[in-house]
């Protein structure tokens, strides 16, 4: 792209022609105020706050809507002069600010945006101090209902239309719009229905004023009272980067952090609003079941009860299951503990996904259970086949990325599974998994599309992999991947590498647990085997590390130890409950579905007597007589990195390597497919884990969007 010379504030700079003047000025170091302009949304040019002076032009120029290629040099051939701080530009912006403030209420003291408000900040710079000439009444606008998450005080709206553009472009749910015109323009949802997107909370971040604010957080805290901790989300397996804002012991809110490679700057409503679940239903002390009822106990009593049971049980009759929110540290500690006790009945695939192990139970290479294309790589794909995956619910932010790819390149997408509105057009291939066989054999139309594509992708979701024939599906998928050239050269896609074989996990702990090999050992039972064994009385002792998504009520008469943060299904049926820390209360490593390892940081302390999970396991190991060889987290991490070397590098984007036929030929099993229709793995997006189930906000959302009249993804 050609560059063009400009003189910005007296400094000569070269700017790419495809940039807007605003971007060029920012590159030159100037700061341009703005309300409607946003990097990830289309340019609207309606707030006029970004006015700059183009010397010689008859009027101030809206820099967000003026492209560098339209700025011609002066008559004498010298570069065009742009002034962003001249009295002329300043006066223009002051005029705009005066207009904006005519109708904006002066209710900052009672406004939730106060302290982090673009209008407030910019009024400090461009407001006309001690000067006003508007004596008429201010405009007043009725508040609108936008659902259980977005509170509206529409009188504060300055009609920047960022929310409308977000809903239409990024979320792909065109529910928001601006009705009327001029002074009577109002932002509203169609007939005030709830804004039915899983990404709806992001409009609160986008709103430059206090018109759209967070309903659950309303009047709770001021931004300057909050302690901000940069962390990682565990509500899905994407590992979205978040900032946890706490006041004292309470998590007040969760906001997104910028990470271009993972979540850009969006997070899902579950990530954002499930945080009120962190202070409800918490396990804050150990419990022991006495006479059928859980009675509070001390740590020593709880450990003694476990030790007594373990002593009486042979390793073959013991089992351990890792739940969806566990960090790598406790998985490692539990694995070492079970190893020391010679227990081989261990598994982390709570949903029973047939991945990561071959038919003889051996662990197979990492890339067979990762999202190898990477999240940013989705944008490079030119054909996508979804199998039993509903990215809109499995990983909403990934879904926004797929939509972005579709908007940019019109990527062809097909879906095997329930027909849902994914926010982009997908060819619905039905719920019969036999279609996959047709694609594998090349007789289906979409096989040709995949074959012709340069960078085709297949995404296997839990809906396919948790089926009885999950391993067969996996094998077919690997065959399709091999036949259509999905597994290309190693390296990032920008450098010509490509691997289009993707598993879409929904559990944050899953990849780390698989990396650590938390899988059944020799002759060990998997989750289904453990549940079955417990029912038949062949398993007497089960250790649940935050595992709530199984049928805990039907574990027979087995002695259940539940270690976790919330009083959910697992704790209700446990014989001993050990209170652990939630994801905001401990430092922990999580590997997302790409295999990228990220560190979550402690924002608050666990409640009551609850402890960090790895420390609980370390303490228990001593009582059981198999003391684990680490006394602090650093030693544990060192041991962890020794086991799995890639845990030593954080935030590293995984590289697509290994095109060996042995890797891809060895996964899954041959066999016949079942005829049962492919179903969705997640039946309620808002209630997928113990934290979300404890959250009042998520319950409201579930009622509004899922169990209520508004069926959004199943529309």
């Amino acid at each position: 792209m050609a560059a063009r010379k400009l003189i910005v504030d007296g400094k000569e700079v070269e700017a790419e022609e495809n940039l807007t003047l605003l971007q060029a000025c920012e590159q030159a170091g100037a700061e341009i105020p703005r309300f409607c302009y946003h990097e990830r949304l289309s340019v609207a040019g309606n707030c006029r706050m970004c006015l700059v002076e183009w010397v010689g032009a008859p009027k101030p120029q809206a820099s967000c809507a003026l492209q560098v290629k339209d700025i011609f040099p002066n008559k004498d051939g010298t570069p065009a002069k742009i002034n962003t701080t001249s009295p002329y530009a300043r006066k223009a912006r002051e005029g705009v600010m005066e207009f904006l403030l005519i109708n904006h209420p002066l209710d900052c003291p009672i406004c939730d945006q106060g302290g982090e408000c673009d209008l407030q900040d910019q009024a400090m710079g461009y407001g006309r101090a001690a000067f006003h000439r508007f004596n008429e009444n201010k405009r007043a606008v009725e508040d609108k209902y936008m659902g259980p998450l977005v509170a509206t005080i529409m009188t504060r709206c300055i009609q920047c239309t960022r929310c409308v553009r977000f809903a239409t472009e990024v979320a792909g749910v065109p529910d928001l719009g601006a009705t009327g015109r001029g002074e009577d323009m109002e932002i509203t949802t169609y007939l005030e229905k709830a804004f039915a997107s899983e990404l709806s909370g992001n409009v609160v971040d986008l709103c430059p004023v206090g018109a759209l604010t967070s309903k659950p957080y309303a009047f709770n805290a001021r931004p300057w009272e909050l302690r901000k901790t940069e962390s990682v989300d565990v509500m899905d397996a994407q590992g979205c980067n978040i900032r946890v804002d706490t006041r004292g012991p309470q998590v007040m809110r969760v906001l997104p952090r910028l990470n271009e490679e993972i979540n850009e700057e969006w997070i899902s409503d579950k990530t954002r609003h499930a945080c009120d679940g962190l202070s409800r239903q918490r396990l804050d002390r150990p419990y022991i079941r006495v006479g059928g009822k859980l009675k509070p106990a001390s740590w020593a009593e709880a450990f003694a009860a476990i030790a007594a049971k373990v002593k009486d049980t042979v390793p073959d009759r013991m089992a351990a299951i890792v739940g969806d929110l566990a960090a790598a540290e406790e998985i490692k500690a539990l694995k070492d503990l079970m190893g020391a006790l010679r227990v081989s009945n261990i598994d982390c695939r709570q949903d029973g996904a047939k991945i990561a192990a071959n038919s003889s139970g051996q662990k197979i290479p990492r890339q067979t259970y990762l999202f190898n294309s990477t999240i940013a790589g989705v944008e490079a794909a030119d054909a996508i086949l979804l199998v039993g995956a509903n990215p809109r619910w499995d990983a909403p932010v990934l879904n926004a990325r797929i939509r972005k790819a579709w908007l940019a390149s019109g990527v062809k997408i097909a879906n095997i599974g329930p027909a849902v509105d994914l926010t982009y057009p997908a060819e619905q291939l039905g719920t019969d998994i036999a279609v996959l066989e047709q694609i594998a054999s090349g007789s289906h139309d979409f096989a040709k599309i995949l074959g012709d594509a340069k960078r085709p992708m297949i995404v296997l979701g839990a809906g396919a992999l948790t089926r009885k024939d999950g391993a067969v599906i996996l094998k077919l998928a690997a065959k399709i991947a091999g036949d259509t050239g999905m597994i290309g050269p190693a390296g990032p896609h920008a450098e010509g590498g490509w691997n289009g074989f993707n598993i879409l996990h929904t559990a944050a702990s899953r990849v780390a647990a698989l990396d650590l090999g938390f899988l059944p050992g020799a002759n060990g039972r998997d989750v289904a085997g453990i549940v079955d064994g417990a029912q038949k009385g062949e398993i007497d002792f089960i250790y649940l590390l935050g595992a709530d998504e199984l049928d805990v009520a039907h574990l027979g008469r087995a002695f259940i130890v539940y270690q976790g943060s919330h009083g959910d299904a697992g704790a209700h049926h446990a014989d001993v409950v050990l209170p652990g820390a939630a994801y905001t209360e401990k430092d922990g490593l999580y590997a997302n579905f790409e295999g990228r390892v990220q560190r979550a940081r402690r924002a608050t302390f666990p409640p009551g007597e609850a402890k960090e999970d790895w420390a609980i396991l370390r303490a228990l190991s001593e009582v059981l007589g198999v003391k684990l060889p680490y006394d602090d987290r650093a030693t544990l991490i060192a041991a962890l990195e020794k086991d799995v070397t890639h845990f030593a590098t954080l935030n590293d984007s995984p590289v697509h390597s290994d095109t060996a036929a042995t890797t891809w030929g060895g996964i899954g099993e041959s066999g016949a497919l079942e005829h049962a229709p492919v179903t969705a793995a997640i039946t309620d997006f808002y209630l997928t884990n113990p934290v979300a189930r404890a959250s009042e906000t998520m319950a409201l959302c579930s009622r509004e969007f899922v169990s209520g009249s508004t069926k959004m993804a199943a529309e």
Partner: protein, 250 residues
Amino acid sequence: MSLRRLAPPDIQPASFAFNGENAEWAKAAIAKYPQGRQASAVISLLWRGQEQDGWVSHPMVESIARMLNMPFIRVLEVATFYTMFNLQPVGTYLVQVCTTTPCWLRGSDAVMDACKKHIHPHPHTVSVDGKFSWMEVECLGACVNAPMLQIGSDFYEDIDGPITEQMIADLRAGKALRPGPQNARKSSEPEGGATSLTDAALYDGSIIGKYKVVAPVPPQPANTDADAKKPTKAASDRESPKQKPPGAAT
């Protein structure tokens, strides 16, 4: 301008459908636009819908959105943006009173008072007999005959309070009105006939020399609505100058 919202749910019809002729027309209107740009037909369809039903209802918005494969909110945005779309039911005769400055100076207040008295005290409200409703509108472009109002698609000019009252009474009684100036004026000529260029010598050639005298045109009735709607010769129909061959002398 005022806040424009859909009418309350209790007066919304249960459904909307274009009648046979309009459905055909709508199909053709949509087909005018290239594939993927069908949404361009939204204003035409809303307008036709309004011509059919008199006003834009909630089912109409949704039905047109479905026809054009648009989100409902996008059609609602258009319907609320343009004041030409009536979002409330209207009477058989919709009286649109111009109240922009020239009409107002010439007495549009009296016209409005007549409407308030004989139709309904409030605009956008159907009269008790269901025959009338009235509204204020911005300039309709007939300032030379101010004040004026529009009923249906006809202009009624040079009116005042009593004339308006009489017009409403006539319509109520089922009498047809004559569009155009309601006083003795002929189109926009001065009241009482021409006041300048009246010297006959101007036209007999005695001043400008030899000139072909045209036989005087017999007085004609004012244009009827139907006449006004007849297509005139389009500018593009004019005889175009012959293209000169390249290189020819100019």
